[in-house]
């Protein structure tokens, strides 16, 4: 496959001003991705700082309750900063350091990638600016304060729809302006090449660990892996190592918000079409004129009108399947996992749990399903209470 392409998807659709930096990044990534010293340093950070490998936990109660497949949870929620995002940020910031860039910018939706970036910048002594949609800063005010506590500057973006896509627009504008000093740490498997490949490579540790841990526990591969998909980095990380193993069913859960037949969803696979945006040729939610649609999900981390190009390719080739999970189903799953296993999942990851709740009972008892539990749900407790009409604090 042509470099930076996944079938017809991918590419480098960015302004000329940015091309030099994209090429520089591409060259640096090619240089370091197989460099033993770089990989060793990253591995040490994964282990000693991020708490890897993350556990693979047999959810016995849930498995029995659903009465189908044996369910394992890949506990990315136990990573430092509470989500899979740290895997990618450690990789990119280490690369930035090698490239001599000391100013890091990032976009964030739910705040998980922003918190991870602020954390690693604090660790590595780098300047950090995080762009966040103004609406998201209100939905996730705790994470805003957390980032500031870590020494980052959080910029509330109120252009456009004031959510994740606008935060990305603003981060691109910053990058174009400060290209000489600044490294753009993109939080998902999206954007211009090499980002979709590079971010996937920094996340593929998830799938590798699943393989190894499951071989130890069960002596075989899983039959099904389920992960939520916004831009799609935790899903790519979980799926990638298993793409050649065609017996492993790969399921992505995207956000159907109030339903894919309403205007309030973020279900790119179900309702999107081919387009070119945010540096990549992929699938997007857009109107017939190519204007990007405003999207909606209860989950700020899945609230994105596109999807990473490798997912678009996995979708078209049929190697992965994608299902839609509504707000209501995700909230039910959030509560279900909390009560059944004593694990509060992120509302993003709850979409994967909800998909698993549907699929597991259709599987045999000797089959194995892995749910990638991409993040923990402490950040979401307030908004779930609000969704349920429970008042837990004064505004």
């Amino acid at each position: 496959m042509e470099q930076g392409r996944f079938g017809e998807y991918g590419g480098q659709f960015v302004p000329e001003t940015v091309m030099a930096a994209v090429s520089e990044l591409q060259a640096a990534y090619e240089q370091y991705k197989n460099d033993p010293a770089f990989l060793q340093e990253l591995d040490t950070l994964y282990r000693d700082y991020a708490n890897r490998p993350s556990l693979l936990y047999y959810a016995e109660k849930m498995s029995k309750d659903l009465g189908g497949a044996k369910i394992y949870l890949k506990r990315e929620d136990l990573n430092h900063t509470g989500a899979h995002k740290i895997n990618n940020v450690l990789g990119q910031c280490l690369l930035a350091k090698r490239m001599g860039k000391h100013r890091i910018i990032a976009e964030t939706g739910a705040g998980q990638h922003g918190v991870a970036t602020a954390t690693v910048c604090a660790l590595m002594g780098m300047d950090c600016v995080v762009y966040m949609g103004k609406e998201d800063t209100q939905r996730q005010s705790l994470n805003v304060y957390r980032m500031e506590l870590l020494g980052a500057k959080v910029v509330a973006v109120d252009s456009g729809t004031a959510t994740l896509k606008d935060a990305i627009n603003e981060a691109f504008r910053d990058w174009v302006t400060n290209i000489d000093t600044t490294f753009y740490c993109i939080g998902s498997v999206m954007g211009p090449h090499p980002y979709p490949t590079m971010v996937r490579d920094f996340q593929k540790v998830i799938g590798r660990e699943i393989r190894r841990q499951l071989m130890e526990k069960e002596g075989r591969l899983p039959d099904c892996i389920v992960a939520c998909v916004g831009g799609g980095s935790n899903a790519m990380g979980a799926f990638y190592d298993f793409i050649p193993d065609t017996t492993v069913r790969l399921v992505g859960a995207e956000a159907a918000g109030r339903g894919v037949d309403t205007p309030y969803h973020a279900a790119t696979m179900a309702k999107g079409s081919k387009g070119i945006f945010h540096g990549m040729h992929s699938l997007f939610l857009q109107n017939q004129d190519g204007q990007i649609d405003p999207v909606y999900s209860i989950s700020a981390g899945l609230d994105y009108p596109g999807v990473g190009p490798e997912h678009a390719w996995l979708h078209d080739t049929g190697r992965a399947e994608y299902v839609d999970i509504t707000d209501e189903e995700a909230v039910n799953a959030f509560e279900y996992l909390s009560r059944t296993e004593g694990i509060i999942p992120a509302i993003e990851s709850s979409h994967a749990v909800a998909a698993a709740i549907k699929i597991a009972p259709t599987m045999d008892k000797d089959q194995i399903m892995v749910i990638n539990l991409s993040g923990r749900g402490d950040k979401d407790v307030y908004s779930i209470a609000k969704y349920r009409g429970v008042k837990i604090r004064e505004e």
């Binding site: 000329e16 091309m19 627009n169 290209i179 000489d180 079409s273 190519g290």
Partner: protein, 265 residues
């Protein structure tokens, strides 16, 4: 038939002056005003006009053109209406017209059909700010088949890329003056002598400088480096201020820019 952009640059060169290229967003505040603005800018000395096709997420634009895009979209300005506008203008004027558009607003249409529509309507060039050299080929092929110039951009960060970009350029080369998004600037960090030295060596088509040129003074200052100057946000700011009544103040402003362009060697 020769492309109007080529003819106009030849005319400017023969007269020993700089080409003045101005920008407005189509449909801001409405398409009738855009039509009046194009005619007013032409009467007052603009040589080439860029019509911005509004986009929901214009990542290379500063706040002024972002807002113009939003106003145009609030009026539901669509590409087919921009083509209709160009057709109406072509009954009244032969001024070279370029579309400045984000690639997604083109891509959702069939590429070949889009450029055929450009030719039928009378569009002379298309600028795609988010398509670098590496991704340009499919657009170039379709554009050239219809006699439409795909306009390339170079930036101060382009360096060793300048040569290959310049070799592919047609119509004119759009030289981005400085880092950052569109909009006014008070100063430039770019080393223009070195930047344009490289461009001059490699480029076989005329080249014009844009991004941040906000008045006659900067036209004089920057114009000497290039064959033309591009003024966008400063015009759009007047459109924002005067709305439907903007063709007179914009015309007066363009007249001052045109005089500066005439006086610049």
């Amino acid at each position: 038939m020769k492309n109007r952009i080529d003819l106009r640059f030849e005319e400017c060169a023969a007269q020993g002056r700089k080409a003045l290229i101005t920008f407005v967003t189509a449909g801001d505040p409405d398409l009738d005003t855009t039509e009046a603005l194009v005619l007013s800018m032409e009467q007052n000395g603009a040589d080439i006009i860029e019509l911005g096709v509004p986009f929901s997420d214009p990542i290379a634009e500063g706040p002024v053109i972002q807002r113009a895009s939003q106003r145009a979209l609030a009026n539901h300005t669509r590409l087919e209406e921009v083509f209709a506008l160009v057709k109406r203008l072509r009954q009244k004027t032969e001024i070279p017209l370029c579309l400045m558009m984000y690639v997604n607003t083109l891509y959702v249409h069939d590429i070949a059909n889009f450029f055929a529509q450009c030719r039928q309507a009378g569009v002379d060039g298309v600028i795609l700010p988010d398509v670098p050299l590496e991704e340009h080929a499919p657009f170039d092929e379709a554009a050239r088949k219809e006699g439409v110039h795909p306009i390339y951009l170079v930036a101060p960060t382009s360096h060793e890329r300048i040569r290959s970009i310049a070799q592919n350029a047609s119509g004119f080369l759009y030289c981005v003056s400085s880092l950052g998004v569109t909009g006014k600037r008070s100063e430039y960090a770019t080393d223009f002598d070195s930047f344009f030295g490289e461009i001059k060596q490699a480029c076989t088509v005329p080249y014009a400088i844009g991004f941040g040129i906000s008045g006659p003074e900067q036209v004089r200052q920057m114009g000497r480096y290039a064959n033309g100057v591009i003024v966008g946000s400063a015009v759009v700011e007047l459109v924002e201020q005067y709305g439907k009544d903007s063709s007179k103040p914009v015309g007066e402003f363009v007249a001052k820019l045109a005089q500066a362009a005439r006086e610049t060697q």
